[in-house]
């Protein structure tokens, strides 16, 4: 059988059964740093990880080395990572500088209209959403924290006890099928658009 060459947000909506409340058929405002429009999630057979972040969130920034490691570990297994910057006031230049300073690879998307935020149901940075290809369109199988290091504001474990994102990606790349699981992420609140 053939997978659709591009995913439609309408199909995603159906698959998520109301978890995401996207308002349009395809993204109208999601752009990469060169300003190219992204009408859909990146196509491909492997999982796509959206990493919601911002340039000045200390909790996000402390995850940069972990994200780098995860990227290296899963890059050879077909996993695509995309940083998503939802704050419309963060410019491409500021985002490039942020990625350079913190050694963040992979592509970055700007989501000034919060289409990806709503699609994933993300509320804070850092928060991740994992999508997999499905015959009926991409399906979200995980949304929440990267790991359980941050417990609350000002309350962090020295080491995580549960590495949620890595566990999800391990399972997916081992060929297992997952149903949607969510966890609560701790971080900087993604401000609602005015």
């Amino acid at each position: 059988m053939r997978f659709p060459s591009s995913w439609s947000a309408v199909v995603v909506l159906a698959a998520l059964a109301g978890l995401a409340r996207a308002g349009s058929a395809s993204f109208t405002g999601v752009v990469d740093l060169a300003g190219r429009r992204f009408e859909a999630l990146p196509p491909g057979p492997g999982p796509t990880v959206l990493v919601f972040t911002r340039t000045d969130c200390p909790i996000s920034n402390r995850y940069a080395p972990e994200l780098r490691r995860l990227g290296e570990r899963f890059a050879g297994r077909g996993v695509v990572f995309r940083l998503v910057y939802p704050d419309p006031t963060e410019t491409p230049a500021a985002i490039r500088e942020h990625m350079r300073a913190f050694g963040l690879g992979g592509g970055a998307l700007r989501d000034p209209r919060h289409e990806l935020v709503r699609l994933a149901g993300a509320t804070v940075t850092p928060e991740v959403a994992v999508f997999v290809a499905h015959p009926s369109g991409p399906r979200m199988v995980y949304r929440g924290r990267i790991d359980d290091r941050a417990v609350d504001f000002g309350r962090a474990r020295p080491e995580p006890r549960t590495r949620d994102l890595a566990d999800v990606l391990d399972a997916l790349t081992a060929g297992r099928t997952l149903s949607l699981r969510t966890t609560t992420a701790v971080g900087c609140v993604i401000a609602e658009l005015q």
Binding site: R62, A64, G103, G154, P158, R161, E192
Partner: protein, 638 residues
């Protein structure tokens, strides 16, 4: 000849320090129920006063909160962190201690912020917009008198557990300088979480730094040997939001050419490697200190042995004030397993006065807390420390998973439990009584403890109890027979008690244990001079002068010994330098006058002897010597 100066004592002990906070208070904001909560009218005054001091460019806050646009886009974040009182950070419990600069929002202010965020964070009429907050750029007190920079930059790794690093900076001053204020620019304030500055007058930190690879040396807490009783009386503490550490009137601290500043930094990885190079600015005053506070340490680290899983392991200590004193500031200290920290005083009439209570101890937000008003405690008041530890799995900050047995130590997986209390007694010398009581308490906790016996000896000696002091020093030497400092002090006490031979024997042991110990060389040489063993004294005094070239007393004693052994030319040279180093020294002026007279330089001799008599008009030796010189001058052919 005359030997100048009392024998020098060494004082041993732990020094750990750090002050000054300039946080901000609260603005009561009032609103009527029907009124719309707006940024301009209600929120800006709260944010500008309580948040902006750190949330602005170059400061510790990760983003700026300097105007409506900044604050609006973070309205829900601000609502959340203020609701749980994560921000602004102010761990002490209100109502349990009268602390200065409380950076705590009122319930009313927090409610206003919640309402404002929930109602869409409106700006309000432009006419009501407050002026943006103004801050002083650069050094907060103007250009410092002396700027000290850490010798090499240090790179904080991108991730991992917190880093504790200590940097040693030498103060290039000559003679005593009095410091009225200090400003620390730690480098990237988002990385440097807090800093304690300690004064090291013995070079011990420098020696430790040399042994440790890379810039500075590691360790959460620094223990320094202290040669003097003075320096450890000030908290020199920096945390985000601290402008400058300014001492109260009359309470400047002293540095000299032998002083190193040790910067004890708590560094938090940010996600990328960060290069820091802290800079310290010092502001001097010409006014010598007139008020002398003291830091009392309550602790019982020896009782810290926390089984894994224990949720409420309590360590306490108490200390009875032997004299009246005012409490000026407190500094609680525990590591990651600490949970509940209490400090209070019970007055002789049974009244309980809280100093501080932190219910949810967070190492990351530790601070020195000056009291808003000095708290007078009469003699007989008892200071109490009570610290509870949670070594269970439920304590997310527990560095060990699963929990392990925790004992005291300097690593982040070890624990400590301290309550430092800065007190100001009525008299400067009352501090010896405080020290004596502190060391007696320490001996109750740790029988046979070397440091306690050694310092108790010094305190007793200072209070005029020589015989008891000698006994304490001997006890200290039972615990640590090779201690050069205690052999030296015991020698000094024996000398004071009139037993010169026994004193010389102790000085010899001190010099044997530590050949480069300048004070012991000085004391041995000077005692040998007193015993008439001038030739034997010479090498020790020469060594003392070599080790401390600016020490006028040592030069005077060397000059005297040279004089007695007939080396008059060399004696004149040393005595001239002794007079240069300390023109007010009666002994040096007298000895130089006498040496010059022996060289036949009668006019110069007379001048120095006259100078000696200006220092002390009725000094019989100087009078007699001057009369002899005058007689020779009169006989001199014209």
């Amino acid at each position: 000849m005359r030997v100048a100066g009392r024998a020098r004592r060494a004082l041993l002990g732990a020094a750990l320090l750090g002050s000054g906070l300039a946080p901000v208070g609260c603005v009561p904001a009032r609103t009527e129920d029907a009124e719309t909560v707006t940024f301009n009218r209600h929120i800006a005054p709260i944010v500008f006063r309580n948040c902006a001091p750190c949330h602005r460019p170059g400061e510790a806050g990760p983003f700026s909160l300097l105007g409506y646009a900044d604050v609006r886009k973070r309205a829900s974040q601000i609502a959340r962190v203020t609701r749980v009182r994560f921000m602004p950070p102010w761990p002490p419990e209100p109502g349990y201690g009268d602390l200065a600069g409380a950076r705590r929002l009122t319930d009313e202010q927090i409610a206003l912020i919640q309402r404002w965020a929930a109602e869409g964070a409106p700006e309000g009429p432009p006419a009501t917009a407050p002026a943006p907050p103004a801050f002083t750029a650069g050094w907060q007190l103007g250009p410092p008198d002396l700027v000290l920079e850490v010798p090499e930059p240090y790179t904080v790794p991108a991730e991992g557990t917190d880093v504790f690093r200590n940097f040693v900076v030498h103060a290039p001053v000559h003679g005593a300088r009095y410091v009225r204020a200090m400003e620390l620019r730690p480098g990237d304030k988002r990385v440097v979480h807090h800093a304690n500055v300690l004064l090291d007058r013995t070079g011990s930190a420098r020696r430790r730094d040399a042994r440790d690879p890379g810039p500075g040396f590691g360790g959460m807490d620094v223990e320094l040997e202290s040669d003097a009783f003075e320096p450890d009386s000030h908290f020199l503490f920096w945390k985000p939001g601290t402008a400058a550490v300014t001492e109260p009137e009359g309470m400047a601290w002293t540095i000299d050419e032998h002083t190193d500043l040790v910067l004890n930094l708590h560094l938090q990885p940010s996600g990328k490697p960060e290069v820091i190079r802290p800079v310290v600015g010092l502001y001097f005053t010409e006014t010598a200190p007139t008020r002398f506070p003291m830091l009392l340490q309550l602790e019982h680290d020896g009782a810290i042995d926390i089984p894994p899983g224990a949720r409420d392991f309590v360590v306490t200590d108490e200390y009875t004030l032997p004299v009246d004193a005012e409490v000026l500031a407190v500094y609680p200290h525990a590591h990651y397993v600490g949970k509940d920290v209490q400090g209070f005083a019970i007055l002789p009439d049974g009244t309980k006065k809280w100093l501080i209570w932190i219910r949810d101890w967070d190492f990351a937000w530790q601070a020195v807390y000056p009291l808003a008003h000095p708290l007078f405690l009469p003699r007989g008041s008892v200071l109490h420390m009570r610290i509870a530890y949670d070594n269970s799995e439920g304590n997310v900050r527990n560095p060990s998973h699963p929990p392990r047995r925790v004992v005291t130590g300097n690593r982040s997986t070890d624990e400590m439990g301290h309550l430092w209390v800065q007190v100001l007694p009525r008299q400067r010398d009352d501090r010896w009584a405080l020290q004596e009581a502190l060391m007696r308490r320490r001996l109750e906790k740790y029988p046979g403890d070397f440091v306690a016996h050694a310092n108790l000896g010094a305190a007793l000696e200072a209070r005029g109890h020589a015989a008891e002091a000698i006994a304490e020093y001997r006890q200290a030497l039972r615990a640590r027979p090779e201690s050069a400092a205690v052999h030296n002090n015991l020698g000094a006490a024996l000398q004071t008690a009139g037993d010169l031979d026994a004193a010389i024997a102790e000085y010899r042991q001190a010099v044997q244990a530590q050949p480069d110990y300048a004070n012991a060389r000085h004391n041995l040489g000077s005692a040998l001079v007193l015993a008439g063993a001038f030739a034997e004294a010479l090498p020790h005094l020469r060594e003392a002068v070599r080790l401390s070239p600016d020490d006028g007393t040592a030069r005077n004693n060397l000059g005297g010994a040279l004089l007695e052994t007939g080396r008059v030319a060399e004696a004149v040279e040393q005595l001239r330098r002794a007079v240069e180093a300390d023109p007010g020294s009666l002994n040096a002026q007298y000895n130089l006058g006498r040496a010059l007279a022996l060289r036949g330089r009668l006019d110069e001799a007379a001048a120095h002897l006259e100078q000696a008599l200006r220092i002390q008009a009725d000094d019989p030796d100087a009078r007699r010597e001057l009369a002899a010189v005058r007689a020779r001058q009169a006989r001199r052919p014209n």
